[in-house]
């Protein structure tokens, strides 16, 4: 969003209060990332260590393997370090 398209001071809630719960979802932190986690699905045992460790949380659960929420993953790499079967690798962002 360009600064001009953001709300002006008259529209904003007083004192920088956020009046709607759950608004953090709207804040896309994925563009902070310099390295991106990539999953090798065949290795994933769905143990969910990454899901527990992810501080965002940006690991999404699936029936057989996890996947990533790239809109919010900041690329910290904790998942890649913690994965016991080395199914996650960090690659440079394009």
């Amino acid at each position: 969003m360009s600064p001009e398209s953001k709300p002006g001071w008259r529209q904003l809630a007083r004192g920088a209060v956020i009046v709607e719960p759950g608004s953090a979802k709207q804040f896309k932190t994925g563009d902070w990332r310099t390295k991106k986690p990539i999953l090798q699905e065949s290795k994933c045992t769905n143990c969910l260590f990454c899901w527990i460790w992810c501080p965002e949380p940006a690991i999404m659960r699936g029936p057989k393997a996890v996947s990533f929420d790239y809109d919010h993953c900041k690329g910290c790499g904790i998942c890649a370090v913690e994965c016991p079967v080395h199914a996650i690798t960090m690659v440079e962002e394009a």
Partner: protein
């Protein structure tokens, strides 16, 4: 509302402040004792212990925590009160910005005192001037009665929907905090009608969750400061309405400033706080001798009444600013800085003489004020510009 028969009670400024706070139907007090504010905290503790209020008193280990607790109570929708002075206010400094930025209508009494080093416990405006830009409404009272009246009025202005800002009631340490005066107390029922319980615009509520204290980055921070500036600009409107209602209640009237014989004066002293009464008294005596002097008390320091002050002062030959704080290394003290700013847009520019006097509780006696007036009268009327000088300093 009819004015009830006035009950006069001998009280120190500190006792009057504590009484007014309790009569304001506060919900919450958190304060840490410091000279010369200690008696306010002692009296508040007494009144809580005696069951004269439903307010909760939270003991804390520092002023930083006292203000933090008040911010929490205010965000929960309560009416919060605190009092401090000097080093205590300095320790609160970072939390003062949270109170204003989070738009908490807290009222705080400040027993103005010099800042260390060298350590000094007496009256001086260095403490509040150090937090001048914290976004608080700042008002300086002249005596104990004003201190009492202003706590009551402060909540109405602070909590006004157009304002929603914290308010500091400043009173000179010792000269006001410890002087005993007859105080006209107002009947509790009348106060409760004038100042009903707080209706918070937005508060912590588990039924309606909100996020307070959010991070705002470069794309939003300026917008929230602009909101705060707008709130400050709305203060004069709320001030006029509240003081009008208060006059009906008490018979006493207040304005943001108090001019005295200024229309046809050639020399006037501008002052804050307790010295203002002495200045008017000396001005009256000099007027009797035919000297063209006047006075201007600034009551509301933030937001500063720039427009009105400029208009009142532009016709004078010499404006003397009585400064009880310094901005070391600057060309003048904080009050003179505002006065000169107020005069900048005016066609006529009087000479501004910034007089550093009354630091660290040094007495501003009628003799010393007369001497300052005579210095102004002896100044070449055609000269302009700004000069700063120390009065009564030993070489």
């Amino acid at each position: 509302m009819s004015i009830k028969k006035t009950q006069l009670v001998p009280m120190s400024g500190s006792e009057a402040i504590a009484k007014a706070a309790i009569q304001s139907n506060i919900d919450f007090i958190s304060a840490y004792p410091i000279t010369p504010q200690t008696i306010i905290v002692e009296r508040l503790s007494d009144l809580v212990a005696d069951g004269e209020t439903k307010a909760k008193f939270v003991n804390v280990e520092s002023e930083h925590s006292a203000m933090s607790a008040c911010v929490g109570a205010s965000l929960a929708g309560g009416r919060a009160f605190t009092a401090t002075s000097s080093q205590g206010l300095a320790l609160m400094h970072e939390v003062l910005y949270l109170a204003s930025g989070l738009r908490c209508p807290i009222v705080m009494a400040v027993a103005n005192r010099a800042l260390s080093a060298p350590i000094n416990i007496h009256g001086d405006h260095s403490d509040m001037m150090g937090s001048r830009d914290s976004g608080w409404i700042q008002l300086y009272v002249e005596n104990g009665q004003e201190a009492y009246d202003w706590v009551l009025q402060a909540y109405r202005i602070a909590e006004d929907e157009r304002v929603s800002l914290p308010f500091s009631v400043n009173m000179d340490g010792y000269v006001i905090t410890h002087s005993v005066e007859p105080i006209a107390l107002i009947d509790q029922d009348a106060i409760s009608k004038f100042l009903p319980p707080r209706q918070a615009l937005l508060k912590l509520d588990t039924e309606k969750p909100i996020t307070i204290g959010t991070l705002t980055l470069p794309d939003f921070y300026t917008e929230f400061k602009r909101q705060q500036e707008e709130a400050m600009r709305n203060v004069p409107k709320a001030f006029a309405e509240v003081t009008r209602d208060f006059t009906q209640l008490s018979g006493r009237s207040y304005d943001r400033f108090l001019p005295y014989e200024i229309e046809d004066a050639k020399v006037a002293i501008v002052s804050l706080g307790s010295a203002s009464g002495t200045v008017r008294w000396v001005a009256r005596n000099l007027r009797k001798k035919g000297l063209p002097v006047g006075a201007l008390k600034i009551a509301l320091y933030r937001p500063f009444p720039h427009e009105e002050v400029g208009r009142m002062l532009e016709g004078l030959d010499v404006v003397i600013v009585l400064e009880r704080a310094m901005s070391l290394g600057s060309h003048c003290g904080p009050l003179a800085s505002d006065i000169v700013c107020s005069l900048y847009n005016r066609s006529e520019q009087p000479k501004v003489l910034d007089v550093i006097a009354g630091l660290g509780g040094r007495d501003l006696s009628p003799d010393s004020i007369e001497q300052i007036f005579r210095t102004g009268l002896g100044t070449t009327p055609s000269s302009t510009g700004l000069e700063m000088e120390f009065v009564g300093v030993r070489e």
